[in-house]
């Protein structure tokens, strides 16, 4: 049994990568998967606070790379979930401290004992992005339904394809159903058509995400409480190869029809 390494990236910052990694990590671990989430955003670490683990960090990614500790020592175990671990980013270093080979080596030694390794990529298309995708078996692009986020996503998809990495799948985050309904926002079908990659999830705008981030308790921990929480659990199930219908974000009708159409593009990727 060897872990699947999935890098979550976006081009644009602030679209929800860290939120996605925290919640997918939780959702997968709640399904009994052995998960490591790696914060690859060296210098701007956030995954630790998103998960509420900031007070438990002793060593970090760069300590492992530079040999100040063993990999196992740097992993922070999430007490709420038996099989969720965080490998934190260094906060006082910059991205030049990490090379693609370091990430490949670290993921290589984590693979045997885990089922999923999720890498929270830094924004941008520079070095941080490069080392974050280096070990990936699969890549998830997070975007928002707005012009600049979609444009940056397209650029990143192009770079990933040029490196012949993949498969690449898409999460559209922060959908505002009422705005979509009024035609004030790009809808899911628009974004999927423009980017021409498979969709793996849609996540609605949800105030509960900010509140849960404030508390350090990812929304996915309480599975049925909110639509966004359910969206993350659905994505986790799709990552495991299950065929899960997409959420209906408002009255069934237009949306459902569009999504049903897109559904056939989503194939379980798996062993």
């Amino acid at each position: 049994m060897s872990a699947k390494v999935i890098t979550i990236t976006s081009g644009k910052g602030g679209v929800g990568k860290t939120t996605v990694v925290a919640n997918l990590g939780v959702a997968l671990a709640m399904r009994g998967q052995r998960v490591v989430v790696i914060d690859a955003d060296v210098g701007l670490r956030n995954l630790d606070v998103m998960l509420g683990l900031e007070n438990r960090i002793v060593y970090d990614l760069v300590d492992v790379i530079e040999g100040r500790c063993r990999l196992r020592q740097a992993l922070v175990r999430d007490k709420r979930l038996a099989e969720l671990f965080l490998l934190p980013a260094a906060q006082t270093r910059d991205k030049s401290a990490v090379r693609p080979d370091d990430m490949i080596r670290i993921c290589g030694s984590l693979r045997e004992q885990h089922d999923f390794i999720l890498i929270d990529s830094p924004a941008g298309i520079e070095m941080g992005f490069r080392y974050a995708i280096a070990p990936a078996d699969e890549i998830i692009i997070v975007t928002n339904p707005e012009v600049s986020a979609v444009r940056d996503a397209d650029r990143v998809i192009g770079l990933i394809e040029a490196e012949e990495k993949g498969p690449v799948r898409l999460i559209i985050n922060r959908i505002k159903p009422d705005m979509v309904r009024r035609g004030e926002m790009l809808d899911i079908a628009d974004v999927v058509e423009l980017l021409a990659i498979d969709l793996i999830g849609i996540v609605p705008e949800d105030k509960a995400i900010l509140i849960s981030a404030n508390r350090g308790q990812p929304l996915a921990l309480s599975s049925d409480s909110s639509l966004a929480g359910r969206a993350f659990h659905n994505i986790a199930r799709r990552l495991r190869g299950e065929d899960v219908p997409f959420l209906t974000l408002h009255e069934p009708g237009i949306f459902e029809r569009l999504l049903a159409f897109r559904l056939r593009f989503v194939r379980p990727v798996g062993d």
């Binding site: 012009v147 444009r151 397209d154 192009g158 004030e184 809808d187 021409a196």
Partner: protein, 90 residues
């Protein structure tokens, strides 16, 4: 609504979602290739030079464009040949 807007002579305003999509379509088409309009001109000039060396072409009529869909982009060169008949006419 639209009916009344037209009746009153107001300009029909497409929804911002539609506008976003159309703008993105164009922006992505350009982003996905490195080919600027200036580069297209250069290519056109060089194509004319190379091809004229071997075949008689109508240099004025040459068009070099790129076309873009979700899955491919291609450079299209449209090069009118000078046929015997046209040449005689000139």
């Amino acid at each position: 609504m639209k009916f009344f807007e037209r009746l009153l002579g107001h300009r029909y305003k497409p929804s911002s979602g539609k506008v976003a999509k159309e703008r993105l379509r164009l922006v992505l088409a350009h982003d996905r290739t490195d080919i600027s309009p200036a580069l297209l001109e250069t290519l056109k000039d060089e194509i004319i030079t190379v091809i004229s060396r071997h075949v008689a072409i109508d240099a004025q009529g040459v068009q070099v464009t790129f076309s873009q869909s979700a899955h491919e982009s291609r450079l299209v060169a449209d090069i009118p040949l000078l046929t015997r008949r046209r040449r005689r006419k000139r």
